[in-house]
Amino acid sequence: MMKKRHEMKVLSVETIAKETVEMKLYQPEVSQQTVPGQFLHLLVPGFTLRRPISIAKVDRQEGTVTILFKIVGGGTKALAAYQPGMTVDALGPNGNGFSIDDVSEGGRVLLIGGGIGIPPIYHLAKRLSEKNVELVAVLGFQSKDYVFYEEAFKKIAETYVVTNDGSYGHQGFVTHVFPEVGAFDQYFSCGPLPMLRAVTTELQDSKGKVSLEERMGCGVGACMACVLPTVDNSYKKICSDGPVFSAQEVIL
């Protein structure tokens, strides 16, 4: 089947934390196809390039897809102003998500999300919670105002919230609570690059997967904007080979 450009109908737009917007979109086909870690590539009128935004959850019954985004510039600001009933032009689901085939039943998995990197981790957590797996989540935010999805995580995972300034939960970086989380078989992480660097260094002896970001041109693997060097002296494209990679495979 050929890939498509989807018209996704906006069902709701809600500010759920400081500068953080949750948007629910109706598009059954995308909802069916998506696996955790994949992203939508959204066209915002007036901007040359599409915006990559991870999928935070899907409801296949409803045919919906939920995304979360932080207002950082013109594109996300314009998206935040969308009204229910409007449509968003999207490519996707793009990229390869978190493969969970190697997560064994009865195992224990560590999930580490930082800021707006948390949505795809939530999607993954939901999927993993359908398996017989014990989940531990460490969620990092700048400060209290930015915290979101804590309750949702608590329902399915042992959850630690960390804020940089200590205004909520533990103070410091996500890595600061690693001593408390206990043993795990594998970790999954998404967040800002400095966090991922710290996480992969700290957990270098553990098996893990990380989801990465880069500025994109095409978003489909054609333009070579988003490459990342790999340990075997080659490269991968974040948009199409990723955004999820084995922590051992790539050079951050």
């Binding site: 450009r5 040359t48 390039l49 500025r215 070579m224 904007a225 490269y235």
Partner: protein, 304 residues
């Protein structure tokens, strides 16, 4: 409607082709539509050896445009011929190879390599990529250097050669005349304009390479001006590009002096850009009272 265009080495069912570097080797976009619909495909630049390109970030958005500094990342000409060309050859479309290099020898090597395959129909000689530090830029801004590399590649290759001009020059017509004299079969224009964007929190260039090439609708008026200017002074065909995203844009390029066009940045916004334009072209031509693509090309003679 008859959209056919005949150019040296190329009989195009329509004048639309994806621009080099904006379509990879076609694989990704073949998942969106049948590539046989395209007039031709211009492949990503080929160099002698594999190149890993520049550090990231490699792209930045600008008003109605974007900057890129990919740095000619490609698997090298041999692997392109071995792996990419045969796959593309399965489509009913023409293939144009974009030849890049940082020395005369490299250009010759790459051009000669494409003699090995029967599936490439023409070369686009990229003397204008602004991102290679080794001196590649000079071929594109100095008429004598441009002449030299054009003559050398013509000599080395069995294929028609379309020389891709850089807009970063004081006098584009002079460049065009130089490569025409040196034996170019056609021109391809324009490549990107050198630009920069800063990252405000650091005050440093956003793109790791510092400068990048500006493409997209922002540059269309410059492309149109240059093609119009060159069309008055050279007679070889022109493949026009720079900011095309609609069938009306295509008509404007044809009226200005292009004989076919390439679509670059627009593919990123709309992966169906090329086929959407092909679909819209007949009604656009009818709207402006043209009977075919050839009709536009012939009638502009009277205009200029």
């Amino acid at each position: 409607m008859n959209l056919e265009v005949k150019l040296p080495g190329l009989t195009l069912k329509n004048p639309i082709m994806p621009a080099s570097g904006c379509f990879g080797f076609g694989k990704e976009y073949s998942e969106f539509y049948d590539l046989s619909r395209l007039g031709a495909i211009i492949m990503k630049a080929a160099t002698q050896f594999e190149r890993f390109g520049n550090p990231t970030p490699r792209v930045a958005e600008t008003s109605s445009g974007m900057l890129n500094a990919i740095g000619l990342q490609n698997p090298g000409v041999e692997r392109i011929i071995a792996n990419e060309v045969p796959r593309l050859a399965e489509y009913d479309t023409s293939i144009i190879a974009n030849v890049a290099g940082s020395s005369l020898e490299e250009y010759i090597f790459v051009a000669r390599a494409f003699n090995e395959t029967n599936d490439v129909n023409a070369l686009e000689l990229n003397i204008s990529c602004p991102n290679v530090k080794e001196g590649g830029i000079q071929f594109g801004t100095d008429p004598d250097m441009a002449k030299k590399v054009t003559a050398a590649v013509k000599e080395a290759s069995n294929l028609p050669v379309y020389v891709k001009l850089s807009p970063n020059v004081t006098n584009i017509a002079e460049m065009a005349k130089a490569v025409e004299e040196a034996g170019a079969d056609g021109l391809s224009m324009i490549n990107t304009l050198t630009g920069m964007k800063l990252h405000l929190p650091t005050g440093k260039p956003l793109i790791a390479n510092q400068t990048g090439g500006l493409s997209g609708p922002a540059i269309k008026p410059i492309a149109i001006r240059m093609i119009y200017e060159v069309r008055q002074q050279v007679s070889i065909p022109i493949i026009g590009m720079g900011g095309i995203s609609t069938a009306e844009d295509v008509l404007e390029f044809l009226q200005a002096g292009a004989d076919a066009v390439a679509v670059g940045t627009a593919n990123f916004q709309n992966p169906f850009a090329c086929v959407d334009i092909i679909d819209a072209l007949p009604e656009t031509l009818i709207k402006y009272q043209y009977t075919s693509v050839q009709d536009v090309i012939e009638r502009r003679g009277a205009v200029v």
